[in-house]
Amino acid sequence: MSEEKISRRGMIKKPVYINRRLVRYYWDRLKKNKLSLAGLGFIVFLALLGIFGPFLAADPQHVDFDIKNLPPLGFSTQESIYDIKTNTFATTVNPGRPDHPLGTDSKGRDMLSMLISGSRISLLVGLLATGIALFLGTFLGVLSAYLGGWADNLLMRFTDVMMTFPFFLLLVLIVFIFGPSLTIIVIVIGLTGWTGAARLIRSEALSLRTRDFITASKALGASDNRIIFNHLIPNVASLIIVMATLSIPGVIMAEAALSFIGMGDPMSTSWGTILNTGQHSLDTAWWVAVEPGIMLFLTVLSFNFFGDGLRDAFDPKASV
């Protein structure tokens, strides 16, 4: 009782209680997976870059045609110009410049600044859309499992329809209709991406529902709310965390793909937008297509490594 406070309405209020020892145990298990730690490290780096980078970097949208297609530092491009007077080819060598360490694109925009801006967009879209999707998925999954009967049936049939819907086509369609903005993209991915989570959480909750400790608390007269929030949700929490980590890369890729086909938010620079530019200058400025792709790849890889390690850390049967 000492840890519980009596609220003004006279109800027992439980403080948010985090089992430090359990967190410690999971962290110790996670630590053994070096790839997972490396993934986490890169995600943290990316987050810092996304939060603070844009204040330090130059304007990613600044166009300067004088310095277009500058190669990254350490590389150089050759340009041959036919000189009519001397009837020869004059070859000029353009080396990379320290003020644009990763080069510039075909409009002279600084690659480094654009990549930093892109990391902010990718993480933002990834986290927000996954958040919406998982919230919806968990809510509908637990609800469906708990209600059972026709409500469960209806919800699951609706999930079937959503799952069968050509996801990417729907995305393009809605973004085309409502106009390309980050908000729309986040909402659409969030509103369409909950199906897998709902199904998984539902089946997990269903199997939990028949377990003895739930039966026990029912026998003790616990209310539905109490069972859902005190027993079901905490028991699927690790599942949700793992699912979040593993669905973020899919969202990031979807946003990148959308921007890549020219349906990204024109007001912001994401990795997909840069790739779109780079696609058309593969022969003159390869780095414009290579650099954002590497960032995208490393981000997705990091989330996959980290999520995989998390799953093993949470799985009591897995040996780490």
């Binding site: 790839l35 022969d283 790849f297 996959n304």
Partner: protein, 320 residues
Amino acid sequence: MRNYIIKRLIYSIIIAWGILTITFILLRVGPTSPVDRYILNIAARGQDVESVKQAIEARYGLNKPITEQYFSYMANLLQGNWGWSFSASMPVLELIGSHWIYSFQLILLATIFAIILGVGLGMLAAVKQNTKFDYAASIFSFIGISIPGFWLGLMLILVFAVYLGVFKTYYDTNYPIWSLENLKQLILPVMALGIGELAGYVRYTRSAMLDNLRKEFVTTARAKGLPERTVIGKHVLRNAILPLVTIIMFDLGSVVFGGAYLTEIVFGIPGLGQVSFNAIFANDYAVVVAVTLIGTFLVLFINLATDLLYTYLDPRIRYE
């Protein structure tokens, strides 16, 4: 069994109808009209835009209330009339008929490539668990899963087409479908589309094989004096294939809808993906609805096929 199939077919039709309706509504409440693109030409010739637009809209019934349009579209569809494409100026069915083969060949080849190599590598990795080969396969599959397919496509073009000049940078429709040249120019797209799938299959096959390699019936099979190739290739694989079928079939759906579209855009393959994107941008609703519908039916068909295949593969499962 027959009742089950009939039930599933009816169910599929209902889902397809739901998706059709959502797509139709999304498109027809959109801000642009299907004739906008069409009348640009007329405007350029200096004719009176508004009267022409009204004439066309009247001719195709676009000025009627949306519900009436919807019902007449449905009535037409049931009679096998898929509507008229404004942007391509031909019946939708004809448009699809002349483009589907490009998507089909790409998806078919990529799937075959991914399944054969992926399942093969996954089996090898499981049998050689914890060897160098296993680790290499594991790293490869992580990389393959994390690499965005459309970026991989760009990189393949950059290296093999732009720098090495082994392949053309764009898909050439002049080659007949069954020619060797066509097969050659499909190598890069198939790799771009297939490697992600392949990597996933390696991972799933490996874990499904490992799950079953430790089962008791494997010891029984060995105790019977069966050669190792029968033990692995028959007793283990036949059980490991069960979860794989679900995953591969599910994946096929996402390939049809996601990866293949993007691959078509990167390589300029004039398949249904490009057709539908162009149609979205032109607000050519009949085409979009038709393509969505075909894709949906394909996925529903794949789902049904999976279930039926499952009853064949797993004698424990019987549908009522």
